[in-house]
Amino acid sequence: MEVPEAGVVFWILSVVIIVSGMLVVSLKNIFHCALALVVCLFAVAGIYLLLEAEFLAAAQVLIYVGAVAILIIFAVMLTTDLASGKITQTNENATIAFVACVMFAAVAMFLIKKTRVWDISPFGLSFDNVSAIGKYLMTEFMLPFEVVSVLLLAALIGAVVLARKERS
């Protein structure tokens, strides 16, 4: 497979990502922010598809859109008074933070543009994505795989212990 140019699909997806990302950080109502986050994560899954990471795209939709976003929406509904969308959601540092972030983005772009040492491979990935990832998980990445399962178990137990109502 030849390396694809960044085509029209990429530009549509990146416009969706950037606009919804800005909505995530700027909307007043935190529930609308969560919905914009769902859109943004979906578009990132599309970017993974463009980059031939099919398994990662599916995992992104399952884990982020299916689990994390639902979790965030639940937390919003449990903690926030949705009717009072009038409270200001940003603190007094918004202007200077905006300037700092624009400068950060500019510096990062400048450095990316300036660096020319990467030799772009003329070929794409020549793997069957899912089976290759399965082989990696069972061979080279065996230890991280086991460690991350222990981490998930710890997070599960930790969340239950933290969120449990204490009996008085």
Partner: protein
């Protein structure tokens, strides 16, 4: 490759802005998810364009997704706990650890 890295940089900056300016803890967590996704786009793009002799970049991205899920679970249960104790989740309320 430049458009992908530029997209990642812009998304990371947006997330950074959110982390710096949000008053709401859930808003900060959502901005963190944006930053994780920006890092993941970087990993996958480098895997696709430079290190094409393996899928190590995608493996890293998968582990990042898993760790981000664990972080979201613990973070949101802490948010629930804060709400139960203070009746609000603004970062203005949470200053008892500051002395």
């Amino acid at each position: 490759m430049f458009p992908y890295l530029a997209l990642s940089a812009v998304l990371f900056s947006i997330g950074l802005f959110g982390v710096l300016t949000r008053r709401n803890v859930i808003g900060i967590l959502m901005s963190l998810e944006l930053m994780f996704n920006a890092a993941n786009i970087n990993f996958v793009a480098f895997n696709r364009f430079v290190a094409t002799d393996g899928l190590v970049g995608q493996m890293f991205a998968i582990f990042i997704v898993v760790v981000a899920a664990a972080e979201a679970v613990v973070g949101l249960s802490i948010v629930l706990l804060i709400y139960r104790n203070w009746r609000g989740i603004g970062t203005d309320n949470i200053h008892v650890m500051k002395w």
